[in-house]
C-alpha cells in the first residue's frame, strides 16, 4: 500500500500530470489560455503516429507473440461487454435516461489513447517492458462498444420512435474513424519497416514525445476544465461516483483478461488501463451521429472531466501496483 502511495505521489508530480492540472486551473480561473483547434489536432495526429509506429516496430523486433490474436479478441470482447456493466451501474446510481445512459456506456467500453500513452510512459519510467501489440489491442477496443450502446437503445424502443437501428454507413464510418486509421496504419508501417524504419524517424517520434504529451495534456486540461465549468450542476453525486467506480470495475475485468492471456506485468497493466479508460475522440463523434438526442455535455464531462483525471492520477499507479502484485513482476 505504501508502494502505491509513493508511486501515486511520484506520478502526481510528473510534468504531464502537472500540465493537465495547469490546464484545469487556467480554465477554472477563466484565463484566455487556449490551444488553437488545428494545433491540438496536429498534436493528436503526432501522438497517434508515434505510438502506432513504435508499437509496430516493437512487434517487428520481438516477433509476433502467439497471444497477439487472443489479446485482440479479448479486447473486442471487453469492449462489447463493458457498456452493459456501465449501463447497469448508471441505471442504479443515476437518473439518466436510457439514451443518455447508453451513450455514456459506449464511452466506457471504448478506450482513451492518451490514458494508454500515459500508462506506457509510467511503465517505461519504471523500467518495465510490455507487448508492442497492445497498441493494436487499443485500436481494436475503440469501436465495438458503440454497437453495444446502440443495441441497448434499440432494446428499449429507441428515442422518439426513431429506433436505435444502425444507420447504413455508420459502422463503416466508425471503423474508418481517422484516429483508428492512423493508429492502425502507423502500427502496420512500423511492423513492415521495423527497426530500420524506426531508426530513420526515431528522433522525431521518440525524443520529443514527452514534451508534446505535456502540451497536449495542457490542452486536455483546458478543455476538461471548460467543460466542467459550463456544466456545473449537471454532475450530481451519482454521476461522480460512476466516473470513479466504473474505471475500477473495468480495470478488474482487464486484470482477469490479462491474467488469462498470460501477458507480462506491463501488458496486464495496460489491459487494465484500456478497460478502465473512457473514449473522448471516436465515440463522442459516433454518438453525435447515432444518438443525437443524448446530451453531449454529460458524456464528455464524465469521460474527460472525471474519469480521465482519475485514471491519470490515481488509477495508473493502482493498476501498476496490482499488476505487479498479481503477476509477481
Amino acid at each position: 500500500m505504501d508502494g502505491i502511495l509513493a508511486l501515486a505521489l511520484e506520478n502526481l508530480i510528473s510534468p504531464i500530470i502537472l500540465f493537465f492540472a495547469l490546464g484545469l486551473a487556467a480554465a477554472f480561473a477563466r484565463s484566455d489560455l487556449s490551444v488553437p483547434e488545428a494545433v491540438a489536432k496536429g498534436m493528436s495526429l503526432y501522438l497517434l503516429f508515434a505510438i502506432g509506429f513504435k508499437g509496430g516496430a516493437s512487434v517487428a523486433a520481438h516477433g509476433v507473440d502467439a497471444t497477439l490474436l487472443f489479446s485482440l479478441l479479448a479486447g473486442v470482447i471487453l469492449s462489447f461487454l463493458l457498456p452493459f456493466i456501465a449501463f447497469a451501474l448508471l441505471r442504479v446510481l443515476t437518473g439518466l435516461s436510457v439514451v443518455d445512459a447508453a451513450a455514456v456506456a459506449a464511452h466506457y467500453g471504448s478506450i482513451s489513447i492518451v490514458t494508454f500513452v500515459a500508462a506506457s510512459s509510467v511503465l517505461t519510467s519504471a523500467g518495465l517492458v510490455f507487448e508492442g501489440y497492445m497498441v493494436a489491442v487499443a485500436a481494436a477496443m475503440e469501436a465495438p462498444a458503440i454497437l453495444s450502446a446502440l443495441w441497448l437503445v434499440a432494446r428499449a424502443g429507441g428515442p422518439n420512435g426513431h429506433g436505435g437501428g444502425m444507420e447504413p454507413g455508420l459502422l463503416r464510418e466508425i471503423l474508418l474513424n481517422g484516429s483508428i486509421v492512423l493508429l492502425v496504419g502507423s502500427f502496420a508501417i512500423g511492423a513492415i519497416t521495423g527497426q530500420e524504419g524506426l531508426a530513420r524517424i526515431e528522433s522525431f517520434i521518440v525524443s520529443p514525445f514527452q514534451g508534446v504529451l505535456c502540451l497536449f495534456l495542457l490542452d486536455m486540461g483546458l478543455v476538461a476544465g471548460r467543460g466542467l465549468r459550463e456544466t456545473r450542476g449537471l454532475l450530481r453525486p451519482g454521476l461522480f461516483v460512476f466516473g470513479v467506480l466504473m474505471p475500477l470495475t473495468g480495470a478488474a475485468l482487464g486484470l482477469v483478461a490479462g491474467m488469462i492471456l498470460g501477458l507480462s506485468t506491463g501488458g496486464v497493466m495496460l489491459m487494465m488501463t484500456l478497460s478502465a479508460s473512457a473514449s473522448y475522440i471516436a465515440v463522442p463523434a459516433a454518438m453525435r451521429v447515432a444518438l443525437p438526442e443524448a446530451n453531449p455535455a454529460i458524456y464528455l464531462t464524465l469521460a474527460l472531466g472525471i474519469t480521465f483525471p482519475f485514471n491519470l492520477t490515481l488509477g495508473i499507479p493502482i493498476y501498476l501496483a496490482v499488476a505487479q502484485a498479481v503477476t509477481g513482476g
Binding site: 488553437p36 471516436a282 451521429v289
Partner: protein, 103 residues
C-alpha cells in the same frame, strides 16, 4: 446590373453531419453550397468553443446555399430530414443574384 430573385439558406449544424447534409442537398437538386467554419456558439445545449478540440465531435459548421425560389421547398425538406434530430439552426433570406442559371 440585371439581378434575379433567389433564396439564401443558412444551415448551422454539427460538423459530424456534414457528409450527410451535403448528400441530402445534392439529392434535392441543389447545384452548389459553401461550408464555413464555426468558431463557437451558444444555444439550448449551452456554450461551446472550437479552441483546443481534437475530435470533430463538438464542432459545428455553417452551410450557405443559394437556390432558385422554386427549389426552396425540396431543399428545406431534404435539410430537415438530416437536421431534425440534431442540434442546429436553419434560416432563409431573400436575396438577389446575377447569373440566375447557376442556381
Amino acid at each position: 446590373m440585371q439581378t434575379h430573385k433567389a433564396k439564401r439558406v443558412e444551415i448551422t449544424i454539427e460538423a459530424v453531419m456534414e457528409r450527410r447534409l451535403s448528400e441530402a442537398l445534392e439529392g434535392a437538386g441543389v447545384k452548389g453550397f459553401t461550408i464555413l467554419p464555426v468558431l463557437g456558439g451558444s444555444g439550448r445545449s449551452g456554450r461551446w468553443s472550437r479552441e483546443g478540440q481534437i475530435s470533430r465531435a463538438s464542432g459545428m459548421i455553417a452551410v450557405v446555399c443559394i437556390v432558385h425560389p422554386n427549389r426552396l421547398d425540396p431543399l428545406l425538406d431534404a435539410a430537415f430530414a438530416v437536421v431534425d434530430r440534431h442540434i442546429g439552426v436553419v434560416s432563409v433570406t431573400d436575396c438577389d443574384v446575377v447569373r440566375a442559371d447557376r442556381f
